[in-house]
């Protein structure tokens, strides 16, 4: 429609001749088709030597070929293939055939016959292998043509006997990718000279024959083909289990690596089936047996295999608990599988000191000989697998082992208990990554465990680590940890305070940690409260300094414990109550509301005291709903008093947002929305609409600022809040359209030139159209709204002149009804706080002009979607220069759901200043309306209209996400 309007407008107003857009791109394609294949043909004919031909082919391969011309090209290639005597050229042609058959929209059925024909006549092994690869590609393109696939499989079977490993490899790959297990292969029809009359067999047994191939590469390919079958959802028979196990002790690492996977796959398929133990007449579950086998591989010679084995262990949840627990016990070496009843006896034997631990001097002095028949040093499989894995030389293996431990421990609480010591040991690893990972893992399994005092001790020792990540991970861990005694609490507190004094920047994190520690263990905190607060039954103790972070830390612990322990406040002294009131106000996220006997009056905020209680959240929600309903009762905002109501509601909502953090998002959202409405109403009420045009310049300016403000606010509404539904977004767009209409009218009134207005009009109409496109389904909710009216008038609008359009808009704007907002379930406002730099430092950051200085930035982001791409850092220099820096994706860490932490460095540089001056650093949220939530439904034709100025779909901008922080910097001139 826009195109239509445009054309018409051009006819009317401009003399510029228009380039027709009618040129159909498809035509171009048709032209290129014959030329392309023809060109290739000519090139290949021209080629005098194989090298030349190869060059042409390589050149050709770089360009894409359209679906329609593929077949022609293929014919030409095949023709040359038959003529060509050079192997390398034939090889390249074969590979090109494969590439071409992958072309979108091309059905490669027609190539199959030719490819198979060429295969039969081919002598070179390499070319054969390549041709089979081509067939494989063709086969994967035609998954539902049974006949073709059957033929391909037959071909593969025939060439399986090739003497060249590459051909066998490809055949196996083909069988793996295309073969089916259920149906037996059709008997080979041709009785060639070498062909033996083989019995009818299925793909699986055929592949498994090659498990014993002499070439390790073929063995690997065979296992991989089998795995491929499994991936395609075929059920693999258990019969190959023994073979797979045997292969896991192959001489070649790639075979072993594949075999481990095979064993694992089988163990997942047949966990409960029973396998015999060799050299004894007992049997065990297959999953246990394979678990033992894979554990064995954790001490393999090749680290690649070790990593693989360790990873796979993590996913074997069905394994029996006693096998699982063996993995952590290096000393337990009785062969459990054979003498299960002797388990305990064997353990005692070991306790009696046959082996020394190496921890105490001379404890390996030989003692009486024990019966060693039941003792097995190596073959007991699972024994100590994780002990080995965690001690491995390569950190890749260690990480894999830690992760496996984690996933196994999550499914088995008893195992979690056991692996605790080992994980704690990993806190001492030499590689930070491993340490960090093990802390995270411990956090994940911490629901299952309660730390003993000694364990807590070792955990806490890490608090002194100089790496911030480690410390924070540990704080996070402590938040989720259960401890057993009050000594533990004390120990944790002491260590955390030590941490606090050593690294003051950890303040927030430590407080938060103590908050959870307190609320988790109220009964453990209770007995030590007097000690913590250093109160004395008879004497008054001096009042502690309220600004001491350590004291605040203690208070946070105590107050959070007191929340669920009503007897505790009785132990508080007077100043504690005062401090409570202070902290409750200043650190409300850390200090919960307490029911203090007779102390209600001291609570700082009256509203809080009355509004809170058990149902505080509900009542707040009710309040929110009530206010919205009250506002929605207003039909016309121009009625006196309506605006006052709106203003009061906005104020109420803002206050509510401050008080109720859970509802902050919703309340803010509503308040902003209402604010937009208010601004709009006020703007429309201005007298300027009745005034003569030349007189209203001042008002004009006022209204246009209002309109711009509304525009800004709408972008904020759309992109800053998460959890919005289409309806809300549509309402926001409606408001935005209103603002734009307002602006349009203003432009029309102030500018004389028609051309300018014309462009703006056109753009506006596009906006309206795109609104219709995006929110078609929501339109029923928009009765009597601005948009609805516009859309009704749309046919007229497109046809009328700009000035008429402006007039129509003006009336519609004034008549349109105010759209009421329906609140979605949960709205979160994206927010960010810069923790560092604090902006309090008076020491300027000095650096030499022309060089850079790195500024550490530490910020927390909440409810930001996709922060890696949207969050930017803005640096504003006093001279108005502003730099926007994109932090690396690696700088974002996610400590918890909905929370992101940005720790990055910003490089500053500037020419010389005479004095230290402040720069501002803040975080921005970048948005582009093309990334709007609705853009997925963008119609395809939009893309073909690249020539036209794209509609609002490319508006990009930034929203301030955090408060700016000021940093003193001082670039000094370089000394010469």
């Amino acid at each position: 429609m826009a195109a239509h309007l445009k054309k018409r407008v051009y006819e009317e107003f401009s003399k510029v001749s228009q380039v027709t857009l009618e040129e159909v791109p498809a035509k171009k394609l048709r032209l290129t088709k014959p030329s392309k294949s023809a060109a290739l043909h000519i090139d290949l004919c021209k080629a005098t030597s194989p090298t030349d031909a190869l060059q042409y082919l390589l050149h050709f391969a770089r360009k894409p070929v359209e679906a329609e011309s593929v077949e022609g090209v293929v014919r030409i290639l095949l023709e040359h293939y038959y003529k060509e005597s050079d192997n390398s050229v034939r090889l390249k042609i074969a590979s090109l055939l494969g590439l071409l058959s992958k072309t979108q929209g091309f059905a490669p059925d027609c190539v199959v016959d030719d490819a198979i024909n060429t295969l039969n006549n081919e002598k070179s092994h390499q070319v054969l292998a390549q041709l089979l690869d081509t067939l494989l590609i063709i086969g994967t393109q035609l998954p539902d043509k049974i006949a073709v696939i059957q033929r391909l499989i037959d071909v593969a079977c025939k060439h399986l006997t090739s003497t060249y490993f590459g051909v066998r490899n490809k055949c196996l790959q083909l069988l793996g990718c295309l073969g089916t297990v259920d149906k037996p292969l059709s008997k080979e029809t041709d009785a060639g000279p070498g062909a033996q009359t083989s019995p009818v067999r299925d793909v699986q047994s055929l592949i498994s024959d090659y498990f014993q191939d002499q070439d390790p590469r073929v063995r690997t390919a065979a296992i991989k083909a089998m795995l491929q079958l499994h991936e395609r959802g075929m059920k693999i028979q258990q019969t190959i289990y023994n073979q797979a196990c045997k292969l896991s002790s192959d001489d070649y690492e790639q075979v072993r690596s594949a075999a481990v996977q095979m064993v694992w796959v089988l163990s997942q398929h047949y966990p409960e089936s029973i396998v015999p133990i060799p050299s004894s007449n007992e049997e065990i579950r297959l999953v246990d047996d394979s678990f033992g086998k894979i554990c064995h591989m954790v001490s393999d010679g090749s680290w690649v295999v070790r990593v693989q084995a360790a990873k796979l262990l993590g996913s074997m949840h069905q394994v029996s608990p006693h096998f699982l627990e063996q993995t952590l016990d290096k000393k337990l070496m009785s062969d459990l599988r054979r003498k299960r009843t002797a388990h305990e006896r064997a353990k005692e034997l070991y306790a009696s000191g046959e082996f020394s631990s190496g921890r105490r001097w001379a404890d390996d002095a030989p003692k009486e000989k024990v019966d060693t028949s039941g003792v097995n040093l190596i073959d007991s499989g699972a024994c100590g697998a994780f002990v080995h894995g965690l001690e491995d030389e390569m950190y890749e293996v260690r990480i894999a082992a830690v992760e496996a431990l984690c996933s196994l421990a999550q499914s088995s609480p008893s195992f979690a208990e056991k692996c605790l010591d080992f994980l704690v040991d990993m806190f001492n690893d030499e590689i930070e990554e491993v340490r960090l990972q093990s802390i995270h893992v411990l956090r994940q399994i911490s629901t299952h465990i309660t730390l003993r005092e000694d364990q807590l001790d070792t955990v806490l020792a890490v608090l002194e680590d100089s790496s911030r990540d480690i410390r924070e991970a540990l704080h996070e861990l402590l938040c989720y940890t259960n401890v057993s005694t009050k000594e533990c609490i004390q120990l944790a507190l002491v260590e955390l305070l030590k941490n606090l004094s050593k690294y003051p920047t950890d303040r927030n994190s430590v407080w938060k940690c103590l908050k959870f520690l307190g609320s988790r263990h109220p009964t453990l905190v209770l007995p030590i409260v007097p000690e913590l607060l250093s109160t004395h039954p008879y004497f008054d103790t001096p009042e502690p300094d309220m600004d001491d972070p350590a004291y605040i830390a203690v208070l946070v612990l105590v107050f959070n414990a007191a929340k669920s322990c009503p007897t505790m406040p009785a132990l508080f002294s007077d100043h504690t109550f005062r401090h409570y009131a202070y902290l409750r106000d200043s650190l409300s996220h850390l200090v919960p509301h307490l029911r203090l006997p007779g102390r209600k009056q001291t609570a700082s905020s009256g509203l809080e005291a009355s509004g809170v209680g058990s149902g505080s959240l509900e009542s707040a929600q009710n309040f929110l709903q009530d206010s919205l309903i009250r506002v929605s009762a207003l039909q016309n905002l121009e009625t006196p008093g309506a605006q006052d109501l709106l203003e009061f509601t906005i104020r109420d909502l803002q206050r509510l947002g401050e008080l109720q953090t859970e509802l902050a998002g919703s309340a803010d959202f509503c308040a902003t929305y209402l604010h937009c409405q208010l601004l709009l109403t006020k703007a429309l009420q201005e007298k300027l609409w009745t005034m003569a045009v030349p007189l209203c310049l001042k008002q004009n300016a006022k209204v246009s600022t209002a309109a711009r403000q509304i525009l800004d606010e709408t972008y904020k509404l759309e992109f800053l809040y998460s959890g919005l539904e289409t309806q809300q977004i549509a309402s926001i767009h409606n408001v935005r359209l209103q603002a734009k209409a307002l602006l349009l009218i203003l432009t029309a009134r102030s500018k004389r030139g028609v051309d300018r207005v014309l462009g703006v009009c056109e753009k506006f109409l596009q906006d309206v159209e795109s609104f219709q496109r995006l929110f078609m389904t929501e339109l029923p909710h928009f009765q009597d709204s601005f948009v609805e009216k516009l859309l009704e008038l749309m046919p007229r609008l497109t046809a009328c002149k700009p000035l008429d359009l402006v007039k129509i808009l003006q009336t519609t704007l004034r008549q349109s009804r105010f759209i009421h907002l329906k609140l979605p379930e949960q709205i979160h406002r994206a927010s960010a706080t810069i923790i560092e730099p604090t902006g309090e430092s008076d020491n300027p950051l000095k650096f030499t002009t022309g060089l850079v200085v790195a500024l550490d930035i530490d910020a927390t982001l909440e409810h930001v979607q996709d922060p890696q791409t949207t969050v930017k850092v803005q640096v504003l220099y006093p001279d108005g220069q502003s730099h926007i820096i994109h932090p690396k994706p690696g700088d974002f860490r996610t400590p918890g759901p909905g929370r992101v932490r940005l720790i990055t460095q910003v490089y500053l540089s500037h020419s010389a200043w005479t004095e230290a001056c402040q720069i501002e650093v803040r975080l921005l949220l970048a948005y582009s309306s093309s990334s709007s939530k609705q853009s997925a439904s963008k119609p395809a034709w939009n893309e073909s209209m690249d020539g036209l100025p794209t509609s609002e779909s490319c508006i990009e901008g930034t929203i301030h996400l955090s408060k700016p922080v000021k940093v003193f910097i001082m670039p000094k001139p370089a000394r010469r």
Binding site: T161, R359, T372, D425, K502
Partner: protein
């Protein structure tokens, strides 16, 4: 049958003085040439007179291989090469070559300068000896001579420690030296490929030990040190200059860095600085972490560890001191120990083995009063801790290595007899391979069964391939016909025709003829016809021809029928077949003997 002979001159059921003689495929190799710490007389060195009573060793030994630089593995080297006399090549890895002379020189100084011994090797001798050294790289195959080749594998244990594979033809021996299967803070774990040697000679120092996880030990160690330092106490760690000392240094250094600790760490000077220098150089021989981070910072450039001065021992406040020697029997460590023993805040940590009779051994056994020279007694109030940081493989590690290498036989050295016995039983039980543990001077002979490689002519192979199934089954032996030619020390398998041609012989046909008497009333030609149809029905897949001149030809077998003059019913069937068709021929003769179906 060829065999491999192994005779330990030292380290047979004993620790110290490692020296093992191996004769394999006509070559004699000496593995390690160490000294014994426990003796000061002739027993200190291996008894080289075992090799020859008088004269030099050069003509009896093809090469000497040193596994690592510890004196119990290389201490006797200058004595052997310069005083007894050996001029052949000595193989050792680069780090060993670099550090070995320092230790030898130190050893010489102590024995000659301090103890005043005479008739000991001189500095010059050490230098001359080192000139004979050929350095080895890891995984590099070095050809000692035409037939003997050696290859070094990483062994952990100390910087530059190597396991060696010795190979003559298809027979091979692997000698582990000392090795460690668990990586530590500065070295990786020993590794070997599946080389399947005829015999694996392994150390067995910790044959009966299975150590706890390394991490527990490390954590305990760090915790103890940390606590003592926080308490304001002093920590003494007696170490030997090389090996464990570096590991513990790295451990403490990283811990200090991680925890931001300020208490000083000292390292007694002397050997150490030189040694640390080499550790810095041979970064490729260390573990993953150090190798990967040395670009940013070489881990051996310690930030927190400073050189020790005697006067520092009296400084107030906490400190950690590494001092030599490791068993507290003399030197600086003992001096410091004496100074600090009286304060219960202090601590001594013994990180390794202590020989009986040393102060270290005494205090580890809980002795609280020590008698010093001059009848003075010393009250031991400080805490005594033992932490095994020994870098030898434990029982599980040894088993793991066996599993990696898959040897056909096992031989244990460098361990106590009683412990070896236990491990020997285990090995025999687990792997069902024979295991030996010879004492010093005792020879173990292992019969090998080497396969003899034969060159086969390609034509013959292709012909066989064409005859048989699609692919040879790698796992199954297959018989084939051919002629074995043994000429000029080489073995070749060729087709008979080619053999005839090469040897210039003419081919002789060997035919068997056989008469079968048969009662048959028909005429000769009829009989022949009946034979033809009979055979045709029995032998379906063979070509059978009835030639007009009165013979039936089955493949190459000729059948004729004659009837004797006197008895026309008695037909004599003449069968003639060549040697190649023996099987078919005898089958036919038995078939015809049974008579024709009527």
């Amino acid at each position: 049958m060829p065999d491999i002979k192994i005779t330990p001159l030292g380290a047979g059921q004993d620790v110290g003085r490692s020296c093992i003689l191996v004769s394999i495929g006509g070559k004699n190799i000496m593995l390690d040439c160490g000294m014994h710490m426990g003796y000061n007389d002739d027993r200190r060195f291996p008894d080289f007179s075992y090799i020859t009573q008088n004269g030099r060793l050069t003509e009896f030994l093809d090469c000497v291989i040193i596994s690592h630089f510890h004196l119990d593995h290389c201490g006797a080297l200058p004595y052997m090469s310069e005083m007894v006399g050996y001029d052949g090549p000595i193989y050792m890895t680069h780090p060993t070559k670099a550090i070995c002379p320092i230790l030898l020189e130190d050893f010489r100084k102590i024995t000659v300068d301090k103890k005043g011994e005479t008739n000991f090797f001189t500095s010059q001798m050490i230098k001359d000896c080192m000139k004979k050294v050929v350095p080895l790289n890891l995984h590099q195959t070095v050809q000692v001579d035409e037939e003997l080749e050696i290859k070094a594998y990483y062994a952990g244990h100390v910087l530059g420690a190597a396991m060696v594979q010795i190979k003559v033809g298809l027979e091979s021996v692997v000698y582990t030296g000392d090795y460690n299967m668990t990586p530590d803070r500065h070295l990786g774990a020993a590794w070997i490929d599946k080389c399947r040697p005829d015999i694996l000679i392994s150390e067995s120092t910790y044959a009966t030990t299975i150590r706890d996880s390394k991490r527990c030990r490390e954590r305990d160690f760090l915790k103890k040190v940390h606590e003592t330092v926080e308490r304001g106490g002093k920590v003494l760690i007696p170490v030997f200059a090389l090996g464990r000392a570096q590991e513990l240094c790295i451990l403490l250094e990283t811990f200090w860095e991680r925890m931001n600790l300020k208490a000083p760490i000292y390292f007694s000077t002397g050997l150490t600085e030189k040694a640390n220098h080499y550790y810095k150089l041979f970064i490729t021989w260390t573990n993953q972490k150090i190798r990967k981070t040395f670009v940013q910072r070489n881990m051996f450039e310690f930030k927190h560890i400073k050189a020790f001065d005697r006067s520092y021992a009296d400084n107030p406040g906490p400190m950690v001191v590494f001092a030599t020697p490791g068993m507290l029997h003399a030197g600086q460590s003992l001096q410091i120990f004496k100074k600090w023993a009286g304060n219960e805040k202090n601590m001594v940590i013994m990180p390794g083995y202590c020989v009986q009779g040393t102060v270290g051994h005494k205090i580890l056994n809980g002795q609280k009063k020590l008698e010093m020279e001059g009848r003075a007694t010393l009250d031991v109030k400080l805490q005594v801790e033992y932490m095994s940081f020994s870098a030898h493989a434990d029982a599980k590690g040894i088993m793991q290595l066996i599993r990696m290498a898959e040897p056909r036989n096992m031989l244990l050295v460098h361990g106590e007899a009683k412990k070896m016995e236990f491990l020997k039983d285990k090995i025999e039980q687990e792997f069902s391979i024979s295991c030996y543990m010879p004492a010093n001077g005792e020879t173990t002979t292992i019969v090998t069964n080497p396969s003899v490689p034969v060159d086969i002519s390609l034509n013959l192979l292709k012909r066989e391939m064409a005859l048989g199934g699609p692919l040879p089954d790698a796992k199954r032996p297959r018989t084939m016909h051919g002629t074995l030619i043994m000429k000029d020390n080489s073995l070749r398998l060729v087709s008979p025709e080619q053999a005839l041609k090469e040897l210039g012989l003419s081919e002789h046909q060997l035919r068997f003829t056989c008469r079968v008497q048969l009662h048959d009333p028909h005429s000769d030609t009829d009989t022949l016809g009946r034979i033809y149809t009979h055979l045709k029905s029995v032998l379906k897949s063979y070509s059978i021809q009835h030639v007009p001149d009165g013979t039936v030809i089955v493949e190459s077998i000729v059948i004729k029928v004659t009837s004797s003059a006197e008895e026309p019913n008695l037909k004599v069937i003449l069968l003639s077949w060549s040697y190649q068709d023996e099987e078919l021929g005898s089958f036919l003769s038995t078939l015809l003997k049974k008579g024709l179906p009527s």
